[in-house]
């Protein structure tokens, strides 16, 4: 069976859509289901009788329709219906379109769920997004024997790849690398007290990364106290005046600096004074500012660990390279699973055809 022939036999598994690999951001913005709820798209697709099963996956990096269609024309009708809904010219959509069928569609889903097709290689957020998309379609009764099988096996494959390869090892963003380092020092963030000095974008991102990974004791200090209070409110943190930083330094375990100050705002004397008040507890200083906020001589102090933007970026880059080195191993694992799964799906599709109707359980709640 050819996977490239768009006109071949009835009852085929397909995926159509646009991803960060096929479409630029401006196009993805137009295609994104921002103003339309997935339920509206589900209703549009459900109105096409030849589309037997479907699931819509919409993230910032991709919009994909996975489905089982009676024929190639049904796939085109589904695409036309979506373009009409979004007000997007079908001919224009063709330019950016990802279209895969059969085994290739299966392999694509496995790679997407495993984070192999993500812009940030190996990220795990996509796994949850695929799960949510599948759950929504399943709840609406839009999945049947084929998609249920394919998605459930995709989740198993993604877990297998994450467990047996290093594709998710190490963080690849500066903010998450900083959080990982804090865990390397403190073991847990539950009791760690974190101070964010400055409200620059990267500092804010890092603060959010700490918050999302379980940190609760956050505080923000900035020259603009109202901005510090604003960010603190968003983070569920406390805010205080920038001038108090030196006196309160000893109260914190992690300090994230990202101010626009032209010279260092934390020097060795201040840090040494803070350490004298908390000698048994390490102090982790993260300098994300340019020019640097923290005097490099602070790193010489016992129990003080200082990392600047370059240090974190270097670690993130090393992790990214390590993840890329795992791609071939992951692909080999997923190819094998996709092959086995596709053979099983072919049987299901053949069963659906011989029965002369939709695959089992389609469009009824499972």
């Amino acid at each position: 069976m050819s996977h490239d022939d768009p006109t071949h036999g009835a009852g085929d598994l397909f995926v159509i859509g646009a991803t960060h690999r096929t479409a630029p951001l401006a196009v993805r913005e137009q295609l994104a289901l921002v103003t339309k709820s997935p339920a509206v798209v589900h209703a549009e697709l459900a109105a096409i009788p030849e589309v037997r099963e479907f699931t819509v996956l919409s993230t910032c990096n991709r919009l994909e329709f996975y489905g089982v269609a009676a024929d190639a024309a049904a796939v085109e009708r589904a695409q036309a219906a979506f373009c009409a809904l979004q007000g997007f010219e079908p001919a224009e959509f063709q330019k950016f379109r990802l279209q895969l069928r059969g085994r290739d569609a299966v392999l694509h889903l496995l790679e997407v769920a495993s984070g192999l097709d993500s812009q940030m290689l190996g990220e795990t957020e996509i796994f949850g997004q695929v799960k949510e998309a599948y759950a929504a379609a399943q709840a609406g009764g839009f999945t049947g024997a084929v998609l249920n099988r394919v998605f459930q096996k995709a989740f198993q494959a993604a877990k297998h790849v994450r467990t047996h390869t290093a594709i998710t090892a190490g963080q690849v963003s500066v903010a998450n690398v900083a959080v990982d380092l804090a865990l390397t020092i403190f073991g847990s963030l539950a009791e760690a007290r974190i101070l964010v000095l400055g409200t620059g974008e990267i500092g804010e991102k890092t603060a959010r990364a700490f918050k999302s990974r379980g940190a609760t004791g956050l505080a923000v200090a900035s020259r603009r106290l109202e901005r510090a209070a604003e960010l603190a409110a968003e983070l569920g943190a406390t805010a205080f005046a920038f001038e108090e930083r030196a006196g309160r330094l000893a109260d914190f375990d992690v300090v994230v600096c990202s101010t626009a100050a032209p010279a260092a705002i934390l020097d060795r004397t201040v840090a040494a004074a803070a350490m004298r008040r908390r000698p048994a507890r390490p102090l982790f200083l993260i300098d994300l500012a340019f020019p640097r906020d923290i005097d490099p001589a602070v790193a010489e102090l016992e129990n003080v660990f200082l990392y600047n933007l370059d240090d974190l970026a270097k670690i993130a880059e090393e992790n990214r390279v390590a993840r890329e080195a795992e791609i071939s191993r992951c692909r080999a694992l997923l190819e094998e699973r996709a092959g086995t799964l596709w053979r099983h799906v072919e049987g299901l599709l053949a069963g659906g055809r011989s029965a002369g109707g939709p695959t089992q359980a389609v469009r009824s709640p499972v």
């Binding site: 380092l181 390397t184 020092i185 403190f186 073991g187 000698p279 016992e302 990392y307």
Partner: protein, 286 residues
């Protein structure tokens, strides 16, 4: 003999399992870049049980705790360290602590078995049939096992500290526990060791007061010095005078001194007791 194996064969078996745990940890790190946590733990459990049988056979032959020669002292110390690892190691199972403990246990047990002189003779009835003296000796050696584990966690602390300061965080370093966890476990082990050795000395002192000649001066001085040094280290740690790297280095240095003290302690035990050949003590030939 048990299951057709002599006490030494059981002990060799135990050493083999500890060595296998070490090799497995190293090979796993080289091949997959991560420690074989569960497998190493399982090998240490099997080795621990084999060593328990080996030491048990010796204890039965002796009719008391098997601490009659350097081999038995080394074996008992390694066994104590493994006991503690099995108790606290669950928390660190996926880290390198298992491989570190396997290294220590394999090294000490293999060395003790490989030196014929250490098991050529053994003192029998060294406790004079007094279970309290036996308890004192066992407790003292168990505390050495605690200090051994403290030395291992201190080594891990120094490696973790180096990795954080030098910003080399990948590879083997990524499997070290957090620096704060290592510091906390170090303090807890130090407290446990000081309390255990202190209790052992307290029990021993009751009999020493009754009969000062029963304990050699060298032994008395060495054991009290070891306990006092660890107690001072603990006091300084509590007062935040001995922290981080200095604390870790101190724990390593003290353990080296404690190991060296075993020589004078063993040689000055019961100077009036004649060494008896191993066969006469009911043990298997080497």
């Amino acid at each position: 003999m048990l299951a057709g194996l002599t006490d030494r064969q059981w002990l060799w078996g135990a050493a083999g399992f500890y060595l296998a745990g070490l090799l497995l940890g190293v090979v796993s790190m080289l091949r997959s870049g991560k420690p074989s946590g569960v497998a190493t733990y399982a090998l240490l459990v099997v080795g621990y049980l084999a060593q328990f049988v080996g030491l048990g056979l010796r204890g039965r032959a002796e009719g008391g705790c098997p601490l009659g020669n350097p081999l038995e002292i080394c074996q008992f110390t390694a066994w104590s360290a493994i006991t503690l690892y099995l108790a606290i190691g669950v928390t660190f199972r996926s880290s390198l602590l298992g491989t570190f403990t396997a290294t220590f246990a394999a090294g000490l047990t293999l060395l003790s078995l490989a030196v014929p002189a250490w098991d050529a003779t053994r003192r029998s009835h060294i406790f004079g049939g007094n279970p309290w003296i036996e308890f004192h000796a066992a407790l003292a050696l168990f505390s050495y096992g605690v200090f051994a584990l403290l030395a291992l966690t201190s080594s891990m602390f120094l490696l973790r500290h180096y990795s954080l300061k030098s910003k080399h965080l990948g590879g083997w370093f990524s499997f070290l526990p957090s620096i704060l966890d290592l510091d906390h476990i170090g303090v807890r082990l130090l407290v446990a060791g000081v309390v255990l050795l202190g209790a052992a000395l307290a029990v021993g002192s009751v009999y020493w007061v009754r009969d000062p000649d029963s304990v050699g001066v060298l032994k008395l001085a060495a054991t009290v010095a070891v306990w006092a040094a660890y107690t001072v280290a603990l006091g300084l740690r509590w007062r935040s005078r001995l922290l981080a790297r200095r604390f870790a280095w101190t724990c390593l240095a003290l353990f080296a001194a404690a190991l060296l003290s075993l020589g004078p302690v063993d040689s000055s035990r019961h100077p009036d007791t004649d060494p008896s050949p191993r066969r006469a003590a009911g043990l298997s030939p080497r």
